[in-house]
Amino acid sequence: MRKVLVAGIGSTPFGRHGDIAIQSLAIRAADAAIREAGIDRREIGALYLGNFVSGPLTGQEVLAGLVADGLGLAQIPCTKVEGACASGGIAFRHAYLAIASGLCDVALAVGVEKMTHADTATTTAALNCAMDNRSDGVSGLTFPGLFGLAWQVHAERYGTRREQVSAVVTKNKANGLLNPLAQMGATLDNDQIVQSALICDPLRLYDCCPTSDGASALLLVAADRRPDLAAMPVEVLAAAQTRGSARIAGHPDLCTFEATVAAAQAAYAQAGITAQDVDVVELHDCFSIAEIIDGEDLGLMPRGHGAAYAAEGRTRVGGDVPINPSGGLLSKGHPVGATGISQIYETVLQLRGQHPNQVRDAAIGLTHNLGGTGVACSVNILKRLDA
């Protein structure tokens, strides 16, 4: 396998982009990534685009080809990949594989979603396409509901308290205030969080990520293409992807996602590092309790200690396990298909030392992107080239 670099990054702000077509969001992010890398776009040999629900929510499919056409790419293979909320991470891995395997020297990974124009019931129904709708779906379960179920068990088993979970929300909303791309940074304390509307007990409104529009893109190159790159490149140490059960009945434990555990093990092995070597993490905090469960699944803290780490400030920038300095999904936003690409965008900025909420001397970063009821997971590890 050849060494692969992230040579250019681009992103729209996350939030509301009412008048901009979904393909235009993707084209803007991708064009920025190509220009930043300083590479002739005719050199791009493959495009992978992560998207989840453009069909049901915007009526537009064939996004990969549409975006390539708008960018003026050659007659290259253009592929949309779908893995619910992990679509972006999976698109990244396929672009990585196209180069690592020697099929091409330059590849583009794009993620995009447009959601805010739809009403909540329509969006919830579209997102529920990520569930096994012949089993869990018939009960009326939702994704916030899945994490409400997980929270009850986590609280019972580990004594996790409401105010500890609120510490995740307070941190990520504050981090978002520092990120110009974030949808909803805020200063929020536990009192304000517990006064927000109940969504799926015990999850309240501020425990949930917003619906978002946005796109992010990464230009990947073979390491031997490096000498004339314009922006500071970052090395991809690992790109792991796994599957887990698509239904609740297939999860023996509601407090862990086996797809995350397996993807983390595979990624650490591929990179030749352990969780303790990671300096900065962007993980899939679709809900506050998810950040706690994901951190434990990734081995960032001992099982059952995720809530205490958050409450003690250990996951803040400046703590020993900085998680989601971008604001995460809770604050930066969650345009579903873009999220996995956006996490890598943020991590590349950290490893370049250019992030607006910089983790000091960050050399190794990890991203974690989880889809459906844990049916798909992507874990990637990136390294500063001089580290």
Partner: protein, 111 residues
């Protein structure tokens, strides 16, 4: 309490493995020979949540209580709870007492 209902499930004719279904191949031995069976609806509560913002199809029903239930036969199901959610606690004994659109309704088991 209301009369119990039986749970429709699948049993693998080759190895006997139970599955809540639907499923095309046995999860254990991959046999396609899965036969419909009915199981007693007694079990215990694994977790629950009250859905207050429902998807389009269930919009008129919210709020409603979703539960994960482990049946005594070992099957895990996602269903609904009938009655007062304030009485719920983990491991509460439950019994299936109804079915609606493929989802089972569970009630606290008092006998």
């Amino acid at each position: 309490m209301p009369d119990p209902v039986l749970i429709k499930a699948l049993r693998c004719a080759a190895c006997g493995r139970l599955d809540p279904g639907p499923r095309d191949l046995c999860e254990a031995c991959h046999s396609p020979d899965l036969e419909p069976t009915e199981l007693p609806g007694d079990g215990a509560l694994v977790s629950w949540t009250t859905i207050r913002r429902a998807p389009t199809r269930f919009k008129g029903q919210a709020p409603y209580v979703i539960a994960v239930v482990d049946l005594e036969s070992g099957l895990r199901l996602t269903g609904r709870i009938a009655g007062d959610p304030d009485r719920l606690r983990l491991a509460l004994p439950l019994r299936a007492t109804g079915e609606h659109d493929g989802a089972y309704l569970f009630t606290e088991r008092t006998t």
